[in-house]
């Protein structure tokens, strides 16, 4: 160690004072000792980036390692720690035990009000995707409130200002919006291009390939062997609806030869009725609880198992379990009267009523259901569900006013925005009311979680178009079509947002990595890769004659999340400077092979982004210190020094 190191000097000073103190033992010396010892010696800033291994995600670990390399170049002691997906979310979202993490932001945050639960300071201490960063910014809080209560230009300006503020203060650093790449087979199912495979509705819109002689227009194979062919199908918004017009009607009720129980014995025919997916995410085979935040990726499987009052279609929320709703109420806080469809049933045969809907919203707000009814000594601690808090925070009160009618009172917000609350899954009261007690392991209550949050919920009882059939933990999951679902009749209504599924079973097969998933599809052991695959598999997909390469824009960016509760990330200036160590354009080219888009706002691609936050070759808010991925360490150091930090031997020191 060089002799001039300030920490060494300081240590020597402390030791020297100690020695003097022991020999002299005079009061003055002890006072001096206290004064000197009050000054901590400065250590190098050390940051640990948590993320998932390459098997679980083709990009996350490479992103983390590249970011860590830039941080090291700027004098920060940065490491990467890989861990399983559920473990990462448990440590980050539940235990708040992290400094930095790299993960994909779930898609519910890809709209202005989605940011409410992601960044509002009232959620800073809440577990789950509710402000996992511990970010607190009073200006941002005000803007988040404003966008809830205003409309038109006023709301737009608030959303613009909100994004500008986020871009400067960096609760998280955007890395890129990756393209969703998948491989699909066209011999059993088609219209892959128009189906949004991130949403349950997209899966419902898949049509069988047999039954008509000519393949669908979208079934042409893309031979992008060199990786330069880019097919950008419109995978968000309203595509699942438009696809229904492009397919010949082939509803199960119209084909009497198809019976749920297959007796022909040929494996080909029995497999043909199953939609087989190969996925790298094993979590759905172990846990199907819609409230378990660490086990949910995009809520696709639970979205097929559970219904909600309304569904997001890209043009707003359309009625689903609800037959209709009507908003009323003076002032700013609206009320809504929701009428359910008649004859709704759960998978276990019980009927789904307004009481279930009201129960669900009370459960989401407090899974212990103790509020109001509890006695003094039991305490009155709410235990909110770690998911759906953003949407549920719109709801002030819910009452079942009849078997099929529910009254909603909302907080101060616009009615159109309030309909977001209708998209949470409705849970059966007769199952979940037993789950409001504190969770226990072998009879011993551990921690503050309720059974509702920790149960693996297998077998699940939902009301969705698919019901649970069987699972083998870590290996497979099979869902079966629920033929009593209302959608088989409702799909004839004008404007109904879905059509009956043309497959009877959905099987999820877990594989080790994205390359193996592609190989399963290529070998006709699966119809589609259930999870998205990495850019490196694109040549392989392009070479295979029967495979269709699906590339769509994604709404779920990779982010580098900061724990704003831990120094030095508590300092927005520090976070802002950290963001300038990241070259997004380089990441897009190097890690994603071009299959991604850089962005300055989490709302990129929504039409809510102001002109000054549109990507124009470089990040104009936090421009990279360097060029082409090469960090200019001198400029980085200068910026950190300007922010009040010091360097010693090229190491960035923690502040005192």
């Amino acid at each position: 160690m060089p002799q001039s190191s300030p920490s060494a000097v300081r240590r020597r000073a402390v030791l020297g004072t100690l020695a003097t103190g022991v020999t002299a033992l005079s009061g003055g010396c002890v006072r001096r000792l206290r004064t000197v010892a009050g000054w901590r010696s400065a250590n190098q800033v050390s940051l640990d980036i948590k993320t998932v291994p390459a098997d679980a995600d083709p990009y996350a670990l490479r992103l983390a390692r590249q970011v860590a390399a830039w941080f090291r170049a700027a004098g920060i002691d940065a490491q990467v720690t890989p861990m399983a997906s559920e473990e990462l979310l448990r440590q980050v979202l539940v235990q708040n035990d992290f400094e930095l993490f790299v993960a994909r932001l779930p898609d519910q945050f890809h709209e202005p009000d989605g940011l409410y639960s992601l960044l509002h300071s009232r959620f800073a201490d809440a577990p789950g995707w509710q402000n996992p960063f511990g970010y607190a910014n009073l200006d941002v809080d005000d803007l988040l409130e404003t966008q809830r209560t205003t409309t038109g230009a006023e709301r737009r300006e608030a959303v613009y200002e909100l994004q500008r503020s986020i871009a400067r203060t960096q609760p998280f650093t955007l890395l890129a919006f990756p393209d969703d790449i998948r491989a699909a087979r066209t011999d059993n199912y088609r219209n892959w291009r128009t189906a949004d495979l991130n949403s349950p509705l997209g899966y419902l819109s898949l049509a069988r390939s047999d039954g008509d002689a000519t393949p669908a227009a979208g079934a042409s194979t893309l031979n992008g062997g060199d990786g330069t062919v880019r097919a950008t199908s419109n995978s968000n918004s309203s595509s699942p609806i438009t696809s229904s017009t492009a397919t010949p009607t082939l509803t199960p009720t119209a084909t009497p030869t198809e019976t749920p129980t297959r007796t022909d014995g040929t494996t080909g025919a029995s497999e043909a009725r199953t939609l087989r997916t190969a996925t790298t995410d094993k979590r759905a085979t172990e846990n199907l609880n819609p409230l378990s935040v660490e086990y949910r990726r995009d809520g696709l499987i639970t979205g097929l198992l559970y219904d909600s009052l309304g569904v997001e279609t890209g043009d707003g929320v359309e009625a689903w379990l609800a037959e209709s709703w009507a908003f009323s109420g003076g002032g700013n806080a609206p009320s809504a009267s929701v009428r359910l469809r008649p004859d709704l049933t759960w998978h276990d045969g019980e009927s789904l009523t307004a009481e279930d809907v009201a129960f669900t919203h009370r459960l989401l707000a407090d899974t212990s259901m103790e509020t109001g009814t509890t006695t003094e000594d039991e305490g009155d601690t709410r235990i909110p569900a770690p998911r759906f808090q953003g949407r549920n925070s719109l709801v002030a009160d819910v009452r079942a006013t009849g078997t099929h009618t529910v009254e909603f009172d909302f907080v101060e917000c616009e009615p159109k925005l309030a309909t977001r609350a209708f998209t949470v899954p409705v849970l059966p009261k007769h199952i979940w009311q037993e789950r409001t007690s504190r969770a226990s392991v072998s009879g011993i209550e551990i921690g503050p979680a309720t059974e509702a949050i920790v149960t693996n919920n297998i077998p699940p009882v939902g009301s969705g178009p698919f019901a649970f059939a069987q699972n083998t933990p870590r290996e497979s999951l099979v869902l079966e079509r629920f033929d009593e679902h209302f959608l088989f009749e409702a799909s004839t209504e004008a404007g109904f947002p879905a059509q009956p599924p043309e497959f009877e079973r959905l099987s999820v097969q877990v594989v080790g990595s994205d390359m193996t998933a592609v190989e399963m599809v290529a070998d006709a052991d699966a119809d589609v890769t259930g999870t998205t695959v990495g850019a490196s598999t694109v040549p392989r997909i392009g070479r295979a004659p029967d495979l269709e390469l699906l590339v769509g824009r994604s709404e779920t960016p990779f982010i580098l999340g900061h724990n704003a509760g831990r120094p030095p990330m508590t300092n927005p200036r520090f976070r802002n400077t950290l963001a300038r160590l990241v070259d997004q354009s380089f990441l897009v080219d190097d890690v994603f092979g071009g299959y991604a888009r850089p962005a300055m706002s989490p709302l990129a691609g929504t039409g809510w982004v102001p002109d000054d936050l549109r990507w124009d070759g470089e990040n104009s808010v936090t421009p990279f210190f360097g060029t082409d991925g090469e960090l200019n360490a001198d400029r980085a150091r200068e910026a950190f020094r300007d922010a009040g930090y010091q360097y010693s031997d090229g190491k960035l020191l923690e502040g005192n």
């Binding site: 291994p53 098997d55 490491q79 990467v80 720690t81 890989p82 080790g512 390359m515 592609v518 190989e519």
Partner: protein, 279 residues
């Protein structure tokens, strides 16, 4: 079914290797007397053999619990391993050629299964039971130590930690193989390399018992070294895992020899001091 295809392929390949080696290494005369010697050896080592079966069965059951337990109490040492050895594995991979990849992929799957099974068959056909007994004891030790380490440590292999520098060569060239390997183990269990420790054990014992089957010794040593290198070459294990695996191999061979000595002298397997305490 893709998994079944892989299992059948590996089964057929290993069977062909076993038959070839039986003829060349064990030799026609011992094969002729095999029914008698195998029966005699089976009687002699039956308790140890049953113990191995129990350990393997327990391994299968505990492995599922072990993964959960490992996340609860285990130490994530991936970063430390990387800090120790840096990009050693990337250096090994810098020599990659398609031919080498094919070779190491072959020894990693086929060669490994063959290397573990053949000594059991070959030593069972030998006139004395000691080599078979030592092999069985050594396998038990390997699996026991491996299981314990897998619970205590969480570690991802280089292909999972530094995908920018280390390619998953096996799974790139033969993706279906991952269907098989993920059945056998999970990707957090890389420290130590059980591939290395078991192959090393077989190679060390082949050297120790080189008088038994002189032709087997060079084959086992060459295959053992190839398998140890293949785990790094294919990006599955760190050099640290391989070094730790080699240590486990030495230790288990030593422990197995002593255990066999004891058993052959008719002593209890419990250490003498413990027995004194009991008496």
């Amino acid at each position: 079914m893709a998994l079944l295809d892989v299992v059948l392929q590996v089964g057929a390949g290993v069977f062909a290797l076993l038959v070839t080696a039986a003829v060349l290494v064990v030799g026609p005369s011992r094969l002729r007397t095999a029914p008698r010697t195998v029966r005699a050896n089976a009687r002699a080592v039956a308790p140890v053999f049953i113990a191995l079966v129990v350990v393997l069965a327990a391994n299968g059951v505990i492995r599922d619990i072990g993964v959960e337990l490992s996340w609860l109490i285990g130490l994530n040492i991936t970063g430390y391993i990387h800090a120790i050895e840096g990009s050693t594995v990337a250096f090994v991979q810098s020599f990659a050629t398609p031919a080498l990849t094919a070779y190491f992929g072959f020894v990693y799957i086929f060669g490994y299964v063959f290397l573990l099974v053949f000594p059991l068959a070959a030593y069972a056909m030998y006139e004395e039971s000691r080599p078979l007994r030592v092999v069985l004891f050594a396998y038990i030790t390997n699996y026991g130590v491996g299981l314990l380490c897998y619970i205590l440590f969480v570690a991802y292999g280089p292909r999972n930690f530094m995908p920018d520098m280390v390619q998953p060569l096996l799974y790139n060239s033969w993706p279906q193989a991952q269907l098989l390997t993920s059945q056998v183990n999970v990707n957090t269990n890389v420290f130590p390399s059980l591939h290395t420790s078991l192959s090393g054990t077989v190679a060390l014992l082949a050297w120790r018992f080189r008088g038994v089957y002189p032709r087997w010794t060079p084959v086992a040593v060459f295959l053992g070294v190839s398998i140890a290198v293949s785990t790094m070459y294919l990006g599955i294990h760190w050099a640290t895992d391989v070094a730790a695996g080699a240590l486990v191999a030495f230790a288990s061979v030593e422990a197995a020899s002593r255990a066999a000595d004891r058993q052959e002298r008719g002593e209890s397997l419990m250490p003498s001091r413990l027995r004194e305490l009991r008496e």
